[in-house]
C-alpha cells in the first residue's frame, strides 16, 4: 500500500455553515427528521433489563468468581497446592500453603494438597491467568458476577467457599441466545 493514500482512499466529510436560510430550514426540517428517528425507536422494543430481578446471562467463556473442583468419582480435590496460580496472578491475590497427604488423611490426588487456599476477590482483576496456569483444571472461573459484600474481609474466599457449589445466581447463556 502506497503512502500518501490516493483520493479514492479518502472520505472527505463536510457540512454547511450554520445559520442563514439553510439554517432556518434545518431548524424545522432536520429537527423533524431527528424526531422521526427517535420516534421510530419506540417500535424497536425495550433494550433495558430489569436488574436485579432479571439477570444478564453470561457466555460460557465468562470469567466470574473462581471455583475449585473435586474429582467426581473419588471426591478428592483436584488442586495439589502447586501454587502455579499464585505465581501467575498479576494482582498477587492468591495465597496457597501446601501440605502433604497421608494415607489416612488424603485430600487430593497428588502427594501434596492445598492446606490453605485463599483468593482475595477485592484484589482479583479476573484475568483468568490462574485458570490458564492450573495444570490440573482444579481452578476455573465460574459464572457468578454478583460478589459485592459489606466488608473487605468477607471478600477473601477460602478453600471451602471456593469448593462449595455456588448459589445459582447468574444464568449461563443458552445455546444461540
Amino acid at each position: 500500500m502506497a503512502w500518501p493514500p490516493t483520493p479514492q482512499e479518502l472520505i472527505t466529510v463536510s457540512a454547511p455553515s450554520p445559520g442563514g436560510a439553510g439554517g432556518a430550514y434545518r431548524a424545522f426540517g432536520e429537527t423533524l427528521r431527528g424526531l422521526k428517528t427517535t420516534m421510530a425507536r419506540v417500535f424497536e422494543g425495550i433494550h433495558t433489563i430489569q436488574y436485579p430481578e432479571e439477570k444478564v446471562p453470561v457466555y460460557p467463556r465468562f470469567r466470574g468468581r473462581h471455583r475449585l473442583h473435586r474429582f467426581e468419582d473419588t471426591g478428592l480435590e483436584k488442586c495439589v497446592g502447586c501454587s502455579l496460580c499464585a505465581a501467575a496472578c498479576p494482582a498477587d491475590c492468591i495465597r496457597v500453603v501446601a501440605a502433604e497427604n497421608t494415607p489416612e488423611h488424603r485430600i487430593s490426588a497428588g502427594e501434596r494438597y492445598a492446606a490453605v487456599y485463599e483468593i482475595n476477590l477485592s484484589r482479583c482483576i479476573f484475568c483468568g491467568y490462574c485458570e490458564v496456569a492450573c495444570p490440573f483444571d482444579a481452578i476455573t472461573m465460574g459464572q457468578d458476577y454478583e460478589m459485592s459484600d459489606y466488608s473487605r474481609s468477607d471478600l477473601i474466599f477460602t478453600k471451602e467457599m471456593l469448593l462449595a457449589e455456588p448459589l445459582d445466581r447468574t444464568p449461563l447463556r443458552a445455546e444461540g441466545e
Binding site: 493514500p5 472520505i11 463536510s14 450554520p18 432536520e30 428517528t37 457466555y59 501467575a88 495444570p135
Partner: protein, 417 residues
C-alpha cells in the same frame, strides 16, 4: 510530605497575572478576570481531569489542564511483572482501548523476541481491534452528545456498545480488559457462533450510524455548537504532536494503519475519513465515518479469516497445548516455566506504534535480557492531544470549551497511566 506540598505550591502558583496586567494596560481597569476551576470531578471533563480556566466574562482567555488524579504507576508496575503478567496490567491504561494497549505491548515484545505471529492470529487481532475502535467511538459519541444536550444519543450509543461488549465477552470471557491478545498471537480461537454474531452486528451497525447522522449531522443546534468552532490547522496540530481523528479532521490523512501497516492491515480495503477545516464538526464527522470503515474491516476479517494456529508454535514463548500437560514432560516444564518465570527477551529496545481510536499509541519496551521488562512506556495519544486544548479554546466561549473537550476525546486512564 514535602513532595505533596511542593505539588500544591505548584498548583497554587498558576496565576493569570500577566493577562490581567495586559488588560490593565489597555485601560480597562473595571474588567476583571475570573479563574474558574472545573473538575476533577465534573461530568464534562470525561474523567478526573481538572481545568483551571481564566475567564474574561464568558470568554476563555487561558486554560491549564491539571492531570494525575488517576495516576496508577502502571508503567512501573509492569517492570515488576514478567511480560506475560504485564499484559493485563498495561491493558488498564486507556480503559476504552484495552485491545490496543495490549496489542501495542505485545507487538513491541514480539518485535524484541523476533516471533512470527500466525496469520489467523493477526486477523483475529484486527477483528477485535476494530470492534474495540467502534466501541470506543460509541462511548465518545454518547458522552459527547450528552455534553451538547443530546440525551437520547447516550442511550443509543451505549446500546450498541453493549452489543460489542457482548461479543468481547463471548470471545474472550470478559467485557473489558480481556487480555485476549497475547505475545505470539491470541489466547484462544474464537468460539463457534461468534462469526454469525459479529456479522449480525456488522449488518446493523451502519444503519445505526445512519440513524445517529439523522439525529445529529445536520441538526442546526449541533451545527451551531460545532461548525467553525475552535478550529486548528494540521500544521499546528502536528507541531503539538496531535494525531488520530483530530489530525485527520484538519485534512491530514495520517493513519498508521495505512502509513505503516501492522498486523496485516495492508490486506484490508478501507478509507480514511478526513475533514477540511479542522473544527469541532470535522472531528465529530470523521469519527462517525470511521465507525463505518471499521465495520468494513471487521467484515473483511471474517471473510478472509485464514485457517491455522491462533498463536505461535514457538514453545519458548507460547504456552504448550493443554492436552499435552498430562503426557509430555517437556510441555509440563515449559508450561511451568512460562507461567512462573516467563520467557526471557533478548536485550534491546523497541518502539511499536499503532493507530488507536485516539491517535498514535506507541509502546516503548526496553529489555535487559531478563523475563521482566526493564522499562515500559506508553505514548498515549490522549496525553499528547490534551496539549492542544489550551490553544484550541483560547478566546472561545466557555460552552465551546466543553464541546471542544468532548471532541478531543481524552481518556484520563491513558493520560495519567
Amino acid at each position: 510530605m514535602s513532595s505533596i506540598s511542593e505539588y500544591r505550591a505548584q498548583e497554587e502558583s498558576i496565576t493569570m497575572a500577566p493577562l490581567g496586567e495586559q488588560i490593565a494596560e489597555q485601560g480597562e481597569e473595571d474588567r476583571e478576570l475570573m479563574t474558574l476551576n472545573i473538575g476533577p470531578h465534573h461530568p464534562a471533563t470525561h474523567g478526573v481531569l481538572r481545568l483551571l480556566v481564566t475567564l474574561d466574562g464568558e470568554v476563555v482567555r487561558d486554560l491549564k489542564p491539571i492531570i494525575g488524579y488517576v495516576h496508577t504507576g502502571i508503567e512501573k508496575t509492569a517492570e515488576d511483572k514478567s511480560y506475560w503478567k504485564a499484559i493485563p496490567v498495561v491493558e488498564r491504561m486507556d480503559y476504552l482501548a484495552y485491545y490496543f494497549n495490549a496489542f501495542a505491548f505485545c507487538g513491541a515484545t514480539e518485535t524484541l523476541l523476533g516471533v512470527e505471529v500466525p496469520k489467523r492470529a493477526q486477523y483475529l487481532r484486527v477483528l477485535h481491534l476494530e470492534l474495540n475502535r467502534i466501541m470506543s467511538h460509541l462511548v465518545w459519541l454518547g458522552t459527547s452528545a450528552l455534553d451538547l444536550g443530546a440525551m437520547s444519543m447516550f442511550w443509543y450509543c451505549f446500546r450498541e456498545r453493549e452489543a460489542v461488549l457482548d461479543l468481547f465477552e463471548m470471545s474472550s470471557g470478559q467485557r473489558m480488559h480481556t487480555r485476549y491478545i497475547q505475545v505470539g498471537g491470541v489466547i484462544e480461537d474464537i468460539p463457534a457462533g461468534f462469526e454469525e454474531r459479529v456479522r449480525a452486528f456488522c449488518a446493523q451497525m451502519p444503519t445505526r450510524v445512519d440513524q445517529y447522522n439523522d439525529l445529529l449531522d445536520r441538526n442546526e443546534i449541533v451545527l451551531r455548537r460545532l461548525r467553525h468552532v475552535c478550529p486548528m490547522g494540521a500544521d499546528e496540530l502536528l507541531a503539538l504532536g496531535v494525531t488520530g481523528p483530530l489530525l485527520r479532521a484538519a485534512g491530514n490523512p495520517w493513519d498508521l494503519r495505512k502509513a505503516m501497516p501492522y498486523s496485516s492491515y495492508e490486506d484490508f480495503d478501507f478509507a480514511i475519513p478526513v475533514g477540511t477545516e479542522g473544527d469541532n464538526y470535522d472531528r465529530f464527522a470523521v469519527r462517525l465515518a470511521e465507525i463505518k470503515e471499521s465495520v468494513k474491516i471487521v467484515e473483511q476479517c471474517l471473510d478472509g479469516l485464514p485457517e491455522g494456529p491462533y498463536i505461535t508454535d514457538d514453545r519458548k514463548v507460547a504456552l504448550p497445548p493443554r492436552h499435552e500437560l498430562a503426557t509430555s514432560m517437556e510441555a509440563l516444564i515449559h508450561h511451568f516455566k512460562l507461567v512462573t518465570e516467563g520467557f526471557r527477551v533478548p536485550p534491546g529496545e523497541v518502539y511499536y506504534p499503532i493507530e488507536s481510536p485516539r491517535g498514535e499509541l506507541g509502546c516503548f519496551v526496553r529489555s535487559d535480557g531478563s523475563s521482566k521488562p526493564a522499562r515500559v512506556h506508553m505514548r498515549d495519544p490522549s496525553f499528547v492531544n490534551l496539549q492542544a486544548t489550551a490553544p484550541m479554546t483560547k478566546d472561545a466561549y466557555l460552552a465551546d470549551l466543553i464541546a471542544t473537550l468532548a471532541m478531543l476525546d481524552p481518556v484520563l486512564g491513558g493520560i495519567d497511566r
